[in-house]
């Protein structure tokens, strides 16, 4: 992840996700790397076509969950057998069946909260973000492929322009962005 300041992007806008997927495949076969794709909804198979590596968010969730599990069960055991041994209803001090509900709840709580926080941080989402968007219709009905102008040779950019036209882009434009975090790196 790197924050790039004052970058110029070549932007191709499509109006259909299937056209977009075909375009991604064509551009990729031409040996050109796509900086990023922006869509109004999750397009099935796009991450694969773009070559975006799989997310490890679920692994993080598992680790958070195990933390919650151990935290809950160990603290309850410690509290009821070491810190304050009280006889409740004639049950043994160490009443494991009784601890299972709370242990389960805390496992889920830790996993969910941990994952959501990780998700927000890794995705660069926060309330302090500015409104800068590449195109306002991307959250409506446009699918964008963007190319960081700095990373391509002049001639490649021309090729990209042609490819975008050929693959059915409804609009091609150049957009200056003050800040753009590329999550694919």
């Amino acid at each position: 992840m790197d924050t790039v300041n004052n970058k110029t992007f070549l932007v191709g806008l499509y109006d259909d996700e299937e056209t977009l997927l075909h375009a991604v495949k064509r551009i990729k076969t031409a040996g050109i790397n796509i900086s990023d794709a922006l869509t109004p909804f999750p397009v099935h198979g796009l991450d694969e076509a773009m070559g975006v590596p799989e997310t490890r968010l679920h692994t993080a969730g598992f680790v958070f969950g195990m933390t919650g599990f151990l935290f809950a069960i160990l603290s309850m055991i410690a509290i009821t057998t070491i810190d304050w041994k009280i006889n409740y209803g004639g049950k043994p001090n160490l009443s494991l069946p009784s601890y299972i509900p709370i242990t389960f709840e805390l496992t889920v709580l830790f996993a969910s909260v941990g994952m959501v926080i990780t998700y927000f941080i890794r995705n660069g989402l926060s309330v302090f973000n500015s409104t800068e968007v590449i195109d306002e219709r991307i959250t409506d009905d446009r699918f964008a492929l963007i190319f960081d102008a700095e990373e391509y040779k002049e001639s490649t950019l021309e090729d990209i322009d042609h490819l975008l036209q050929d693959t059915g882009a409804v609009e091609i434009k150049v957009k200056e962005m003050k800040k753009y975090k590329n999550l694919n790196k």
């Binding site: 598992f62 004639g90 069946p97 009784s98 299972i100």
Partner: protein, 403 residues
């Protein structure tokens, strides 16, 4: 697409050998054990739970197909014939069940099928059991059993007939398909009731003093997991023989999710029943678990818990494991054994109560026999109809299924 399954003669032979070996071993077991104290009880208990496990698996075949039929479960259609084949064991399993109940009823249910218990002021008078006599008496018990079995068999035959009709329906398939939905809905309605009552009758009544409202659903969860596992194993065998190429990773992934999810569900019911009885600590209720915490049953009891929950939970947690056929088949075999053990601890302590004992000539002999019989029946059924139901309106969805 290879539509016609021909049973390889080797497979048929293996099934027959398993049956023969199981039968011979059990015959030896029968004659050496029958004379012993509790011998007859033990033999019938083994027959009861082994038979029920496979009958339950067969019922789940029909149940799972019916649920998907009414729930628009398109993904499943390419393996619908496998489910029908599993269900084809219902008539045989059902009839064997009736035979076992008629011949072994007294040895199995001697805790209530005993006239001395009902003699008021007699030495063995049991007020609790006497109160239940209008429900727990052999004639009514057997009538109920016949009703369950007849209902199940009729619905299987009806469902299957309609399914075959769909193959030949041509352009008329939508009405035939809708009829199948109607049959499924009716079956599910009756199964919702009979699956519980059969469990109360055949297993809960072994300990007639004990009762648990959850028991029927718990038993259902057990056979549900076992049934799905049997389906996975049969798919695996068919694929090994070069059939069923349309069933791919995606379908297995879904089956794997079901096995994972319902293993957790089974554990949830197990825990709910255990926790409530443990917590309330009422002696009539805790007796059930007390019996199972003694005499070597405890190990089997917790081993079943470990196999049926801990192992599948960690093994099948990841996406990769659910999609790996080898892992899935291994887990399926293990889970069927786990539920076999679970049914053992549901049956043996109450009927026999002499402590956990496993014998090659009794419990394992029957397992071998039933595996052979079940395989024989299922593969025969598979060879009787096209392997795919191409005419099913949701077949296309299933063929290009993608999770």
């Amino acid at each position: 697409m290879n539509q016609n399954f021909k049973i390889p003669s080797r497979l048929n032979l293996i099934c027959l050998i398993l049956m023969a070996v199981g039968a011979v071993l059990f015959a030896i077991g029968w004659f050496t054990t029958i004379g012993e104290d509790h011998g007859a009880s033990r033999l019938w208990a083994a027959l009861l739970y082994n038979n029920f496990l496979f009958l339950g698996i067969a019922l789940i075949g029909l149940f799972f197909a019916a649920v998907h039929e009414i729930g628009y479960g398109g993904w499943l259609i390419s393996l619908k014939r496998v489910l029908e084949a599993v269900a084809s064991y219902i008539p045989i399993g059902g009839i064997l069940m009736l035979v076992i109940l008629v011949l072994g009823g007294h040895d199995l249910y001697h805790h209530w099928d005993n006239d001395a218990l009902y003699v008021v002021d007699g030495p063995e008078y049991d007020a609790l059991v006497a109160q239940k006599r209008s429900y727990l008496n052999m004639p009514f018990f057997l009538i109920r059993a016949v009703i369950y079995v007849v209902l199940w068999v009729v619905f299987y035959l009806w469902f299957r007939r309609n399914s075959l009709k769909l193959d030949a329906a041509g352009d008329n398939r939508v009405p035939v398909y809708k009829r199948s939905k109607m049959i499924s809905a009716l079956f599910l309605f009756f199964f919702a009731i009979t699956s519980s009552t059969a469990a109360w009758d055949w297993f809960m009544s072994i300990d007639p003093h004990w009762y648990s409202t959850l028991y029927g659903w718990y038993t259902f969860a057990s056979i549900f997991v076992s049934g799905l596992c049997a389906v996975v194993i049969i798919i695996y065998m068919l694929k090994r023989m070069g059939y069923l190429e349309a069933v791919n990773e995606e379908h297995m992934h879904d089956l794997g999710k079901f096995i994972f999810g319902f293993s957790v569900f089974w554990t949830y019911l197990w825990f709910s029943q255990f926790l409530l009885i443990w917590y309330a600590n009422i002696s009539e209720e805790t007796l059930y678990f007390k019996t199972r915490f003694e005499g070597g049953y405890k190990f089997v009891f917790f081993l079943a818990m470990f196999i049926n929950f801990v192992v599948p939970f960690f093994v099948l947690l990841t996406r990769g494991a659910k999609r790996a056929l080898g892992t899935l088949v291994f887990m399926s075999v293990l889970l069927i054994l786990g539920h076999w053990l679970d049914f053992y601890v549901m049956t043996h302590p109450g009927v026999v109560g002499t402590g956990a004992e496993f014998s090659l000539f009794i419990e394992f002999a029957l397992l071998i026999f039933y595996v052979g019989l079940f395989g024989f029946v299922v593969f025969r059924s598979l060879s009787k109809a096209p392997l795919y139901q191409l005419n099913h309106p949701f077949m296309k969805e299933s063929l290009i299924h993608h999770t």
